[in-house]
Symmetry: C2
Subunit: 357 residues, 2 copies
DNA sequence: GACCGGCCTCGAAACGATTCGAGCGTTCCC
DNA sequence: GGGAACGCTCGAATCGTTTCGAGGCCGGTC
């Protein structure tokens, strides 16, 4: 068959061996004479055969070598956040050497009318993958998660709730936030506000209603709020940001600081939000940390804040990605990965100090 | 066969129809009675069958529905740059509705010793994909590109050289840079320096040697340098940054500005580099734009520069991603996409002004 | 000289789906 | 009333590979 690209059968017949032998020559599994292997490779070279077709291989082995990573509806929103990017980086660099590729999968739109199926079935339901990763903030009742379980795709969750049959890689964010809060109260702060990550679906910006607070089901926000409570801090005001972006932090910062009696410290649940609060403070003519202390969470490297250095709780982002990758490998090996919780570290910068008396 | 997950055959026999009919019930191609379809779906539901196995489907149809996107050795480096992210976002949102997924593929390490194959064959050589996308700065002699061509994978290139058999989506960056340069000379600047993107492999930081300048084979850097020449601007000094990051821009900025007779304007080939130059200027006590004008390229939204607004040449990032996605679709439809060149737009901000006399 | 192992190679059976042409029952038209 | 047209369903072939057990050849041993 000289039509189309050559197949293993073409190579085999060109080399004068059987298909199975040719397969062995490539896969390396099983005994094969050095000479035979050379003959096969030579024939492959001659025909321009670039190795076994992954499709055939996958079908036979039942493995695609693909790990699906679920991203938000908009890639932009997910990846504008350096946190996701660094975690993904750790993940990719762990998976790559294992021969596993990362497929980007848009999450199911939770608001979509299921009856109206304008789009052919979404990637989530039809893309090949051996394991799926929900990198960030899966919720307990999640159309995405459910669709994956229905397909029988094993799931690894980063920083999410503990869910039956899914491996979880988390961080000690509750404790880290508590440490941060104690540090601030230790400095003498009593009026502390907080800017949170999204609390629940759908995302909103502003001061959450009690109803929303009750529906709090996004793990990172929940843990970090809980950390405040652990340290005995009751925020004077809680403002929710709809995404972990500087713009949202700035808006939230105005809400928090542009009031008659502003707090003396603001704890933001992410560094980008904190950076936004910092901008807001600057715009309002407040000095940091003299008039207001600002702290974040993540431990990002933000050179453009220079000369300020943000006080923050640093989490090991790449390590989290690597831990997720490791869990993926375990799942593929048929093991059940134990839950992981990575340590975080309070890192004091120049944006926090004692309150003005 | 109740062992393992159910297959189409199981569903078919449970529904009392043939496999081919069951297939029709799912694919929707071909005539099928509504009642039959319902019967099949009901049986599928009962058995927990979540739709046709993509592996089998792919093998038969010869299509995986996967588009490989080649990223640099380190994901972090690629994605810390908002430019890549926005392009990727445009790409994903175009491809998603077409039922195509994006697989992240680490590029081949050009320095790797080919004899020593510690790693099993890289994803690039073995991952399933219908088309590959080199999103940014492919070079003419590129191990990655070559490996793809050898596999017979069609390639779409973003902002690269025109290469035989590969579709290209570019921008009018040469002209845009020329416009920017003319604007600055029009303001009266004569001593203009430039900070470039990487010029060639391997990446380096600092003032490039003539040898390096001669080997200039990275399209974006080449076009934008050429744009300066088109406008009759000969840079007083050229500094090369090894990546489009604020840190590198800052380092380059010090090299450019911390000299006895600094330029009155600096053109950086990306906004992040420009932001770094801005930081360097600030650190050196130079006022912008009074002491030095700074301009970038890309048109990113950089709220943290506030209250400054960067003068820049804006390129349509999402549109570029969409254009690439469109080209991918054309390739898959068997068409040969014509070369695309998107327009850019000079956007004057507050970081440029007339030089001090 | 016959038998027993090793080492390689081969043939055939999956893997799970799509697709094409044939077949069959019904309806409609002449 | 007979034949054609139509609508739906079915069998069988096919996609390209891996894997398993069988078998062939060779050298060594009793």
């Amino acid at each position: 068959m000289s039509q189309g690209r050559p197949t293993l059968a073409d190579v085999a017949s060109a080399a004068g061996v059987s298909v199975s032998t040719a397969s062995l020559a490539f896969s390396g599994a099983g005994p094969i004479a050095t000479e035979t292997r050379a003959k096969v490779h030579e024939a492959a070279q001659r025909l321009g055969y670039a190795g076994p077709n992954p499709l055939g291989r996958s079908l036979r082995s039942g493995r695609s070598g693909i790990v699906g990573v679920v991203i938000g509806d908009q890639l932009r929103r997910s990846f504008r956040d350096p946190v996701s990017v660094q975690v993904l980086d750790g993940l990719v660099s762990t998976l790559g050497p294992l021969g596993l590729g990362v497929l980007l999968i848009p999450a199911l739109d939770p608001d979509r009318d299921p009856t109206e199926s304008a789009e052919l079935d979404p990637l989530l339901a039809s893309a090949p993958m051996d394991v799926a990763v929900l990198i960030w903030g899966a919720r307990r009742e999640d159309a995405t998660l459910e669709a994956l379980q229905r397909r029988g795709v094993p799931v690894v969750i980063g920083e999410g709730p503990e869910i039956e049959g899914a491996a979880v890689v988390g961080i000690a964010d509750q404790q880290g936030t508590a440490d941060l809060a104690r540090y601030l109260t230790g400095l003498g702060h009593t009026r502390i506000a907080t800017v949170t990550l999204p609390l629940c679906h759908p995302r909103q910006t502003g001061i959450p209603t009690p109803d929303r607070l009750a529906r709090l089901d996004w793990a990172p926000a929940r843990h970090r709020l809980q950390g405040l409570a652990d340290a005995g801090v009751e925020p004077t005001v809680i403002v929710e940001a709809s995404a972990s972006l500087v713009e949202d932090g700035r808006a939230a910062g105005h809400l928090v600081l542009d009031v008659p009696e502003p707090p003396t410290a603001v704890i933001a649940q992410s560094d980008l939000l904190a950076a936004g609060v910092l901008l807001a403070a600057r715009e309002l003519g407040l000095r940091v940390p003299e008039d207001v202390s600002v702290a974040g969470f993540d431990g990002l490297d933000l050179p453009w804040l220079s000369p300020d250095v943000l006080t923050t709780v640093a989490q090991p982002l790449s390590a989290k990605g690597e831990a997720i990758g490791h869990a993926v490998a375990q799942v593929l090996a048929g093991e059940v990965p134990p839950p992981v919780r990575l340590d975080v570290e309070l890192r004091v910068g120049t944006t926090t100090g004692p309150p003005r008396t």
